[in-house]
């Protein structure tokens, strides 16, 4: 990587930061409790739209892990979720009616909030349908992980997306808000992921899982990216470049070992395929606010019409993080 490329990356980072600065004005505070934030707090950043079904469990789950404060951008919800979030004692909410797509799928808003409130904190940037699992998460709180990362001088912690799905047609199961979504979606693909190295950003590009297997059979190159770096010791110089898939400066993306060793990593359990999914897919198809002209949702619609079942004989049923570690989806690294 030459000087010229480094310079280009630097320009790109500055541009993204400026963009975030500009998009900040699209956010208007609904409830601002950020005065509660203490220097050692772990902060959760999230964008949501009409996720009332997922939010109760989302908050419960991350509070259980020891997250100290939540910062939400509400994108024009009309299902009561904004009001619900405003009532939570540890949540700050901003709202916007601006275009999700024009804000690079919410990332400009996230970058703006991260820059304003994340500096110096461990920040976890996740969607409401992403639940973080990391080594020892059943016995050690998030602060245990972040303290350890600090002691190792590690600034970013990766967690790939793991699509969870039910057995049987997606729309058929029932889910009540507040319920553990994994009771409805306990299945996942254990070992059909493909990885290539993105030398421009230094990150790995991971694809595969049920979405590639069922929806993107004919165009595997377009299957969604699953690599994510959600947990970062934030500095105001940083930006997320494309979703939480990669960051700038790109040294932050070197979350993997390329000499044979294993660094520590976690998994984001992706609860996209709750029973609400077919309706949501329809809606998103008409809104066309998602990545790549909502290509993903077009593919879903094509298959979901036939009541697709993502489950197969070799689907794996989720037990705990140790299982994911043994399967090689995540690693303890040298954390013991």
């Amino acid at each position: 990587m030459g000087l010229w490329d480094s310079y280009r990356m630097r320009l790109r980072r500055k541009r993204l930061r400026l963009r975030a600065l500009r998009k900040r004005h699209e956010l208007s505070p609904v409830t601002d409790r950020t005065a509660q934030i203490r220097p050692d707090h772990v902060l959760v950043f999230s964008t949501q739209r009409n996720e009332m079904a997922r939010l109760p469990w989302f908050l419960k789950y991350y509070r259980g892990l020891g997250a100290d404060h939540f910062l939400f951008v509400d994108n024009d919800s009309d299902d009561g979720s904004r009001e619900y979030l405003s009532q939570q004692p540890d949540v700050s909410v901003w709202s916007t009616g601006a275009s999700y797509r024009a804000s690079r799928f919410g990332m400009d808003w996230m970058n703006a909030l991260l820059r304003r409130h994340g500096h110096g904190h461990w920040t976890l940037t996740v969607d409401p349908d992403e639940l973080l699992v990391y080594p020892f998460c059943d016995t050690r709180p998030l602060a245990g992980l972040t303290d350890w990362l600090d002691s190792c001088g590690i600034k970013a912690f990766p967690a790939m997306l793991l699509d969870m799905y039910p057995k049987g047609p997606i729309g058929e199961a029932t889910y009540t808000p507040g319920q553990d979504p994994l009771e409805v979606l306990p299945w996942f693909d254990a070992g059909n992921y493909t990885i290539s190295r993105n030398w421009g950003y230094n990150n790995l590009w991971i694809q595969g899982g049920p979405r590639a297997r069922v929806f993107f059979r004919d165009q595997p190159g377009r299957a969604p990216a699953l690599n994510k770096i959600p947990l970062v010791r934030w500095h105001r110089r940083y930006v997320y470049a494309s979703s939480t898939h990669n960051l700038l400066p790109r040294g932050l993306n070197l979350v993997f070992d390329d000499m044979g060793g294993e660094k520590s990593s976690g998994v984001l359990l992706h609860t996209k395929f709750l029973p609400t999914f077919p309706a949501k897919a329809d809606e998103e198809l008409s809104r066309r606010q998602h990545y790549g002209d909502s290509r993903e949702y077009i593919a879903y619609a094509a298959v979901l019409d036939g009541d697709a079942d993502l489950w197969c004989r070799y689907s794996e049923k989720y037990i705990n993080w140790r299982q994911l570690e043994i399967l090689g989806l995540m690693s303890k690294g040298n954390w013991a």
């Binding site: 990766p158 254990a190 059909n192 049920p210 390329d258 294993e262 995540m330 690294g333 040298n334």
Partner: protein
Amino acid sequence: MSMGVIMLVHTALDRAAQMARHWARAGCPVVIHVDRRVPDAPYGAFRRALADLPDIAFSSRHRCEWGTWGLVAATLDASRVMLDRHDVRHVYLASGACLPLRPVADLQDYLADHPETDFIESAATADVPWTVGGLNHERFTLFFPVSWRRNKPLFDALVAGQRALGLRRRAPRGVVPHMGSQWWCLTSRTLRAILDSPDRRAHDAYFRRTWIPDESYFQSLARLYATEIEARSLTLSKFDFQGKPHIFYDDHLQLLRRSDCFVARKIWPRANRLYAAFLGEGLPPAIRQDPQPGKIDRVFAKAVERRLRGRPGLYMQSRFPRLGHENGVTAGRYAVFHGFEPLHDGFCAWLADATGARVHGRLFSPERAHFAEGEAVGPGALTDDAGLRDYNPKAFLTNLLWNSRGMQHCFLYGPDDTPEILWHIARDPNARISVVSGAWAVPLWRSDAPFDVVRARAAKLQRAEAAMIDALRAPDVKARVRIQTMAEYLEAPAETLKSIVAEIGWRDGADRSASPSTVELLGFGQFLQRLRNEGMDPYLAGDFPLLSSTPRQPEPRRYIAS
């Protein structure tokens, strides 16, 4: 008073206070050194919190940066305070993140049983590979005036410069540099001898400019003055590959209990269960046993191994080795066959029965991946879809082997199949590739197609197979490759097959005498000759006889006793 405790404290002052109280309550005088970098307000609060305890003293504060002299200076000052104020037999050096795992009385008894013994890990530098950062004996032969943590470039430049100048410091007379854990328990006699040594100035001047003197000052000088050194630390403290201490959490409770160690570090300050369990009233009854840190050693050694070497054959989000650094390209051994199937009916079924392995068909065939038993989905939810497979064929293979590691895999491969995978298979020491060349002619011979079509097809197949064989004979091939022409192979197919199965391993209870039936080849020789007559020499089939159904038998050997 048998034992005094020196505590070095720099963070988590509340836990440190709890520890100091614990030591003091057990009757140990405590001298505390608090890092100068701790601001005055928390330091003041910390002192006030311990003000009610008469046997706790504070020594003058130094800046304690990792690997610098400050830690030694702090320890020396605190030792002086301890020895001046208290008449103790042993002095235990601990930190604020230490936690006694056994009642303090246990430790006191243990030390009373070893009144003359100095417990200090201390090994001659030439004999230990512990060092991190490539500096071993140079720790003691170069000058280290700047902190490695704070100014790495300057640190490295100074090291390089001194190397270039050929600088070599000499240790003070009588001192042989030794290294070991920073956490020791010395007799006050040894400690006093170190403090009051007539050569103290020389010692301090020398070690002040070595690197990480806290791991060598007392460790070297104890060798001069101790009468009885037990070269191990009573503090259980494990270090990772970067020289940072491993941290103990709540879930280590059972592991720590069973270790029978006296003191462990470093404890995560928020490991409430550990503190409650080991500092609470309900401590297990005294056990007169020597520490057994072996199990904990293994846990942490495995963690370091995983960080440095990883799991062979695994490619994932935090392990993606470059070519050549895989430490195992794939997760297990597998066998690849080419040219056997046209010669034997039911070859795959026979192989599966003989070996008990997963025998797939053509995994990389253009239409789909033929998994064993014709499944549409394979281990790990890999699909048989050719497009998905060929999107990243290497990942397909490594995934398959990783997903069902512990199981042997066999599959067929031919020149028509996904070409780029061959390069990877050929460079994988786990692969055993067996090739019978020219066997593609058998289906052609049996086909009803017009001869000019057959001839053209034969030429194409032979070119493709020749290219494949060339690839398998490349100089950097790491797989085990066996290539025979069809004629060679058919001289004694059972022998070849048996040695192949023997390499994979016979299934328990397999019928070792059974061989797959070889197809009838009567007239095949003429077919080859006809190809030859048409100007297309099927040389890869080998030297096939014109008339007989099997290749020419070698002359029977004669054994003459002389």
